[in-house]
């Protein structure tokens, strides 16, 4: 059971799993690879382009969720803990409707691992560089088979 994070989301797009069986585009995979290399600014740029170009409103919050989790880590690296709480928390909540898997991404795993970072920051008010090095999760995905 994931502990509830108090973060208010934009009501603009409906979150549903209707599109979750689609295959990630080449650009989407590039964004995930950037995320996993810790290139959080770059993943934000790539996912922002995908998010803005996406005509299907049911999947836009999926992109935004991953994007905002990455931006949360970007703020974390800069020691901007208020930014971490706000943006990481929202990103996690945007992803909730897409769990456990969507687009081949292991969404629940990302939610759980990102939530662990969120709650550590909430509890301690900050993280040490050693915490940052060990705590930041990756996005795991695999090709859709169903």
């Amino acid at each position: 059971m994931t502990r509830e994070i108090p973060a208010r989301l934009s009501p603009r797009d409906p979150p549903t799993r209707a599109c979750c069986n689609r295959t990630p585009s080449r650009e989407m995979l590039r964004a995930l690879e950037q995320f996993n290399r810790g290139e959080y600014w770059a993943q934000h740029e790539t996912l922002e382009e995908i998010w803005r170009a996406e005509p299907d409103p049911t999947i836009r919050n999926f992109y935004k969720g991953i994007l905002q989790i990455g931006v949360g880590f970007y703020h974390l690296r800069k020691g901007n803990y208020n930014g971490v709480i706000k943006v990481l928390g929202r990103g996690i909540n945007y992803l909730m409707p897409y769990a456990p898997r969507c687009y081949g991404v292991e969404v629940q795993r990302l939610i759980d691992e990102a939530s662990a970072v969120y709650w550590r920051v909430r509890a301690k008010g900050k993280l040490t560089p050693q915490d940052c090095a060990s705590a930041l999760p990756h996005v795991h995905w695999r090709a859709q088979t169903d």
Binding site: R8, L9, S10, R12, W41, H44, E45, L47, E48, W51, R52, K64, L67, Q68, V71, Y74, H75, N80, N82, G83, K86, V87, R90
Partner: protein, 85 residues
């Protein structure tokens, strides 16, 4: 250095900027006369700038002199407001 919303937004609140912000950092309450950017949340991408119909958004370090007070006005808003977007 975050982006900041200045005086031209007052009583306009067009919201085009809100729709394109990938991190949802532009907020306002129902009784507010303008929109505000949370400097802690903004990632400095500038996506909001070309959307503003009244050219109210600037990087903080490029804010026109007559509106420089809005850097603190934006920041102060988030120290006191119960924001709803």
């Amino acid at each position: 250095m975050a982006y900041v919303i200045a005086e031209p937004c007052i009583d306009v609140k067009d919201l085009s900027c809100v729709a394109v912000c990938p991190v949802d950092c532009i907020h306002c309450g129902p009784d507010d006369r303008m929109l505000y950017i949370n400097p802690d949340e903004c990632i400095d991408c500038g996506a909001c700038v070309p959307e503003c119909p009244v050219s109210a958004i600037y990087p903080a370090d490029e804010m026109p002199e007559q509106w420089r007070e809005y850097i603190e006005i934006n920041a102060a808003y988030f120290r006191t407001a119960n924001v709803t977007t």
